[in-house]
Each structure stands twice: as structure tokens, then as C-alpha cells.
């Protein structure tokens, strides 16, 4: 069984959308870096350019939402929903601990992209654990 993968038509569509958003991310990121390097923007323009590469990554989360809506297999959907909960719990835990340390002891902020990576690591780990727990042998 392949969760959120190629086992169902919705899973296939989800994978295609992720590929598209990741390709878009690379293109937008390179364009934003070049733009900042050559025009040296600051203030609101810099904030706006910094938001641009985040959009395809957010679209990736949107694709996850669309996948959950389209997925017909109840069980695969349940697994994805549980994984989403685990990913969110890990994300919030990391944000709260890090921000608390910043607020009370002046610790350094999280490394760039730490939250994004943490969310998808938590999501992926939860999927892998559930996959292992529900593994049935080939001759079952």
C-alpha cells in the first residue's frame, strides 16, 4: 500500500501536483534570488519578494487539502488525516519551544525552513509508522 502515493487515482493526481509546485518553487526561488541580487530591494518590496518563493510551497499544502477532498479510499484518507495531525503537532511544538526560548533567554531563532521541514518530516514519519503497523504479508 502506498499512502498519498500512486495507489489511488487521487494519489496520482496529488503526486503530479506536488511535482508541478516543486518545479515552480525552483523557478521562483532562482528568479527571486537573481532579482534581489541585481536590484537590492528593501522594505516592503523585499518582504513581497521573500513571500514569492513561499507561495509554491504553500500550494503544496493546498494540494494536500485537495487530495483529502478527492481521495475516495476511506482508510487511506484516515491515515493521511492522522499524519496531518502529527505533522501539525510537531510543527506547533517546535515553534512554541523555540519561541519560548527566544523570549525568555534570547536564544537564536530557528534555522530557515526548519518549520516547513519539521512539518513534512512529522507528516512523513507518521505515514511510515502507520504503514509499518498495518503491513500485511503478501500471502495474507
Amino acid at each position: 500500500m502506498n499512502f498519498c502515493g500512486t495507489s489511488t487515482p487521487a494519489g496520482k493526481r496529488y503526486q503530479r501536483r506536488v511535482m508541478v509546485t516543486m518545479s515552480l518553487y525552483v523557478v521562483v526561488l532562482v528568479a527571486a534570488v537573481l532579482l534581489v541580487k541585481h536590484t537590492h530591494p528593501h522594505g516592503w518590496l523585499l518582504y513581497a519578494i521573500a513571500l514569492l518563493p513561499a507561495l509554491p510551497l504553500l500550494a503544496m499544502m493546498g494540494a494536500l487539502g485537495v487530495y483529502l477532498q478527492e481521495e475516495k479510499d476511506e482508510y487511506v484518507r484516515l491515515i493521511t488525516m492522522r499524519s496531518l495531525l502529527v505533522g501539525t503537532a510537531v510543527l506547533l511544538a517546535v515553534i512554541v519551544v523555540s519561541d519560548f526560548l527566544r523570549a525568555i533567554s534570547g536564544a537564536a531563532p530557528l534555522a530557515p525552513f526548519a518549520s516547513f521541514v519539521t512539518f513534512f518530516l512529522g507528516f512523513g514519519a507518521a505515514q511510515a509508522v502507520q504503514k509499518m503497523r498495518n503491513r500485511v504479508s503478501d500471502d495474507a
Binding site: 527571486a32 534581489v36 504553500l58 496531518l84 495531525l85 503537532a89
Partner: protein
């Protein structure tokens, strides 16, 4: 109409959020007045996470027990909106740092964006799908004709 499972989730969720705020301000106070040693810093930072994990666990239980497919869908969509908001704040900070910005986003911004976006999403779904309170009666009357 709210289901019994939904009511229980709301009640328990509010209680846990109240516990969160008590722990949150308690940890700040403890750090200022009693537990000032550095060894306590990590303990105080981890304590407020516990009620948050509790709320997420409650949400998992709610999603398991809720029989209304639509309500389950809306809850998951709201969660995704919140997570996307929190992640986008972190991504914004990350890209600004890469582009040479020397400042820092305020602490707890991601956390608050998460909750505000979740609430906004919930409200917007509620407004979009509003049905009059007597909709069930109207449907029943139409059926009996």
C-alpha cells in the same frame, strides 16, 4: 447543528486552551521570579507544549468519533489553513534571512497566525454554508407534500 461529539470537543478544547494560557503566563512568571537558573529554561519552554499536544489529540479523537463527513472535512481544512499560515511565517523569515535581512520576526508570530487563520477559515466555511435554522423542517415539509 452541532453534534454531541463536536460539543464535547469544543468544551474540552476550551478547557485545554485555558490551561495553556495559565501555563504560558505561569512559565513567564516562574522564569522572572522563581526558576531563574538556566537549567530550568528548557523545562519552562517545553511545558506550554503539553496542552497544545492535548488539543491536537482531542482533535484526533473528534475526527475519529465524528460521523458527519462534512464537519470532519471542514476541521481538516481549517487545520491545513492554520498549518499553512504558521509555515508561511517561518518561510517568510527564512527567505528574508537568505536575502540579507538582519531583523527577526516577533516570537510566537507563527503560533498566533496558526490559530487566527484556523478561526478565520472556520468562520468563512460557516458563513459560506449557512442554512436557515428551520431548514430541516422545510425539507421535511417538502418531502411530505
Amino acid at each position: 447543528m452541532e453534534t454531541a461529539v463536536g460539543k464535547r470537543f469544543k468544551q474540552d478544547g476550551f478547557k485545554l486552551m485555558a490551561v495553556y494560557f495559565v501555563i504560558y503566563f505561569g512559565c513567564f512568571a516562574a522564569h522572572l521570579w522563581w526558576l531563574t537558573a538556566e537549567k530550568w529554561t528548557w523545562v519552562l519552554a517545553i511545558l506550554p507544549v503539553l496542552p497544545i499536544v492535548g488539543v491536537i489529540t482531542l482533535m484526533g479523537r473528534y475526527l475519529r468519533d465524528e460521523t458527519d463527513e462534512y464537519k470532519r472535512d471542514v476541521t481538516i481544512r481549517c487545520l491545513l489553513w492554520g498549518a499553512a499560515g504558521a509555515v508561511s511565517m517561518s518561510l517568510l523569515g527564512g527567505f528574508l534571512w537568505i536575502f540579507g535581512w538582519k531583523g527577526q520576526l516577533p516570537p510566537f508570530l507563527g503560533f498566533w497566525v496558526f490559530f487566527v487563520l484556523m478561526m478565520v477559515a472556520k468562520l468563512s466555511y460557516k458563513v459560506q454554508n449557512r442554512v436557515p435554522e428551520d431548514a430541516d423542517v422545510l425539507v421535511w415539509k417538502e418531502g411530505s407534500r
